[in-house]
């Protein structure tokens, strides 16, 4: 049994303290990472609750319940930021990516605590595969926000639709990496490949 709350406190405490000293923009970025970690912690509770309510076993919950809960929880801090602080398009997009990175980091730390740190290869696959998947999902939501920013109704409906898209991608990833061997390798390589394609195709476009 691992106590993820304790792990969470150890990780978040120094970040939270440094937020008090840092300047506005950097501090805000760090806060997004902390929000991502918090979302991950809360997702674990909510997923367990829904798995219990729907009488789903652990394996089924990882591809049926967790993706939906995690993607929604990941978006909640951003929703709060959008509604309360009247955020601009660019900071919302960046924030979404940082939340995803924070989420993936905390999930990896929990995996490390639960499964040990002896096997470097599996940790590499896990670290990059899951990390990339969370960032790709965050990026999809960020792109959706960016594209549909102009009208509030468009943003609301479109964001819901983009989150649904991310949930399905996340669920497929969980099914594929759930089986060891070639399936795990392919599943982990997919989000990394998508991320590289994004970097090569989309970034030059945003520069122009």
């Amino acid at each position: 049994m691992i106590y993820i709350e304790n792990t969470y406190i150890c990780l978040v405490a120094p970040l939270l303290l440094v937020c008090l000293i840092l300047r506005k923009r950097t501090g805000r970025s760090l806060l997004f990472i902390i929000f991502g970690m918090t979302s991950c912690l809360l997702s674990a509770y909510v997923s367990t609750l829904f798995a219990g309510l729907t009488q789903t076993d652990m394996a089924e919950a990882t591809y049926q319940i967790s993706p939906a809960v995690e993607e929604i929880m990941k978006f909640l801090p951003m929703l709060f930021y959008l509604l309360v602080f009247n955020a601009d398009r660019k900071s919302a997009v960046n924030g979404m990516m940082l939340i995803a990175a924070g989420f993936a980091t905390f999930e990896n730390v929990c995996y490390l605590t639960a499964n040990g740190s002896e096997d470097l290869v599996s940790l590499l696959i896990r670290g990059f595969g899951t990390g990339a998947m969370h960032i790709v999902c965050g990026m999809v939501v960020a792109i959706g926000l960016y594209l549909l920013w102009e009208h509030p109704w468009l943003r609301a409906v479109g964001t819901f639709a983009v989150i649904c898209f991310a949930i399905t991608g996340h669920a497929m990833f969980n099914v594929i990496v759930g089986r060891p061997g070639l399936s795990l390798w392919i599943g982990s390589a997919l989000p990394i490949t998508i991320l590289i394609i994004f970097y090569l195709v989309l970034f030059p476009l945003t520069d122009t």
Binding site: T54, T56, E60, Y63, Q64, I65, P67, A68, G144, L147, L148, L154, V157, G158, F160, A161, V162, C164, F165, I167, T168, G169, A171, M172, V175, I176, G178, R179, V201, L202, L205
Partner: protein, 211 residues
């Protein structure tokens, strides 16, 4: 066997459409094409998830929330696409055109009551909301494009969306009577026709952008 071929055909067609829409969205940097890409990708993901579950676990998912959300999202993107294209005209519906599109919800909720005889209540109600919304927007677009030069462009997109929904409902109704061979054939025909509507969206949008 025929089901596998039919699924593979649909997957192939939607997959190709997804890639073309993505390439066009990046090339033209056009929001409408991005919406179309998300529509295709969501529909494809919903089907893919279903097929992956079949492949990995030998059974369809017990809780269908993931696939359902994906298909609902596909409907929403199509709704957004039609709404955005309709808004470009800067017109409002008048007279019967103001009320008639609401018939979409009567239809979708009527169908939901029928589906509830076999399936769950909540999932069918949610489906009715999303399907109703899409049919409403398609009908609204048809009324919006009345008596104007751009008529052919918007009405083509909305007509394809309506056809898509008719075949979607056709295959859903047929699947309710799966034991009957006639219904089984009807299901495959409806699904095949629905697959053929996917490339038509791109043709419709091409007209839209050219306008």
């Amino acid at each position: 066997m025929i089901e596998t071929i039919e699924n593979a055909f649909q997957g192939g067609v939607v997959g190709v459409c997804t890639l073309i829409a993505l390439a066009t969205a990046l090339k033209k940097r056009d929001r409408s094409w991005a919406m179309l890409f998300f529509f295709y990708a969501d529909y494809l993901f919903g089907n893919l998830f279903w097929q992956i579950c079949l492949l990995y676990f030998g059974k369809t998912p017990r809780i269908t929330i993931v696939s359902d959300l994906s298909w609902y999202a596909a409907f929403l993107f199509l709704y957004l696409l039609m709404k955005m294209e309709g808004d470009k005209l800067g017109r409002r519906t008048v007279g019967i055109g103001k009320i008639a599109p609401y018939a979409a919800f009567l239809f979708s909720f009527g169908m939901a009551v029928f589906f509830m005889q076999i399936g769950g209540y909540v999932s069918n109600l949610i489906y009715a909301v999303f399907a109703g919304l899409m049919i409403y927007q398609a009908l609204n677009g048809l009324f919006l494009s009345e008596n104007i030069r751009q008529k052919r462009r918007l009405s083509f997109l909305c007509t394809v969306a309506l056809l898509f929904m008719i075949f979607e409902y056709g295959s859903s109704v047929a699947s309710c009577f799966w034991n009957s061979p006639v219904a089984k054939n009807l299901y495959y025909v409806s699904d095949l026709l629905m697959t053929l509507t996917f490339p038509l969206f791109m043709l419709a949008l091409k007209r839209e952008v050219e306008s």
